[in-house]
């Protein structure tokens, strides 16, 4: 019987240690596949040294590690590996920024940021571990950050 294996990539970016079940949300935050024509592999519930995790591999494209910090809200333990010729040439652990703009929607339906106004959603990060954010506009804290990912 043939077995389909996800092989190591030659060049590109591997996002490792994603909270299990969050890989598709990570893709949404990074606007993949719309933002790239590269081959993207998604692995979910992979057994690792520290339990289950998801992994995303983007071939032939080096994503800017800082840009990837925005996934930290939903995958706070994620690591970004830049791969060249099968070798990890750069490793970056994501860090939650102090302010989160345009990534997640306010969970309060009557918040003005959810109305037809020319503004993006905006949150202050009040705790990085565990991630807690507060809406700049209505001052509410969403209970489930991943739920509101735009």
């Amino acid at each position: 019987m043939k077995e389909l294996k996800i092989t190591p990539i030659k060049d590109g970016t591997v996002i490792d240690h994603i909270t299990p079940g969050r890989a598709l949300k990570v893709l949404r935050v990074l606007k993949i596949p719309e933002s790239t024509s590269s081959v993207v592999s998604v692995l979910m519930n992979v057994s690792g040294k520290k339990g289950k995790k998801d992994i995303v591999k983007v071939e032939n494209r080096e994503l800017d590690p800082k840009e990837l910090d925005k996934i930290a809200l939903i995958a706070p333990k994620a690591t970004i590996n830049i791969i060249r010729d099968y070798e990890v040439v750069k490793k970056h652990i994501v860090e939650i920024p102090d302010e989160v703009v345009g990534i997640t929607r306010c969970s309060n339906p009557t918040c003005i940021s959810n109305a037809r106004e020319p503004v993006e959603s905006r949150f202050h990060v009040i705790s990085k571990d565990p991630p807690r954010i507060r809406c700049y506009y209505c001052e509410r804290e969403p209970e489930d950050i991943a739920e509101g990912i735009i």
């Binding site: 009557t110 918040c111 003005i112 109305a115 106004e117 020319p118 503004v119 700049y136 506009y137």
Partner: protein, 310 residues
Amino acid sequence: MNFKNRDIISIKDFSKEEIEFVLDYAKHMIPYAQGEKHTTLLQEKILATLFFEPSTRTRLSFESAMHRLGGRVIGFSDPSGTSQKKGESLADTIRMADAYSDAIVIRHPQEGAARLAAEFAEVPVLNAGDGAGQHPTQCLLDLFTILTEKKKIKGNNVVLLGDLKYGRTVHSLAYALALFKADLTFVSPETLKMPKEVINECKELGVEPTSTTSLEKAIKDADVLYVTRIQKERFPDAEEYNRVVGSYKVDTALLQEAKKDLIVMHPLPRVIEIDPSVDTTTHALYFKEAFNGIPVRMALLSLIFGGKKL
């Protein structure tokens, strides 16, 4: 301490020292608020009052405060006569008011509206209530009322009663009272309890609030009883409202159990939660509290226009 051109959006934007400064400033405004002394401090200034939601006290007291300071007022109290009805965004309405006035007071049914207004206005914006969100000037006048009656805020046992879930005044007030280290007791029906995030904020400020559904128990040790209306307009469905309306009533029989110097406050309007027989007792402070809106708002208006102490 510099308040010139500052937006007044949330009580959380103020430090304890800044609140004390505003309250002290407000004390000096009382004779002007009562019409005993006169000033033309803001005679060149125009205040725009944009009320997208009904209001009696907040709008009238802001307008009275501006007039008492010698300034002028433009605005509306019913958005049905404005371009909002034609689909104009709040951002565009604010841009217009910004061009026509020197400061903007806004009340809006959506939380965060005042913060958004402040982004689009060059002139200072004062939040007069945004949905179930913040109402900082009400909070300041409530603190002012407690301070003038009790001489201090710290150590007073303040009971917040009623709709603690949707009521905007109690959220800001609980935070501010915790900042001043008052003791807090929250009394509400189970379904209208104080949101966890407000309780956590109080704890972060070193105050551990007590929560109960029994007003009879809470009244005995109270120094301040802050009553709120169960607000029909904030309920997502009428059934939930019907289940809790009339849960509590403050009347003279209940007050027999209270301390002699208990003060009863209410942001008003009241409906049935305070019996009119309480009005003539020494406990009733809610009408004086409503008056206090004028000196406090006069103080804020003077400060954001860079006014010196009168």
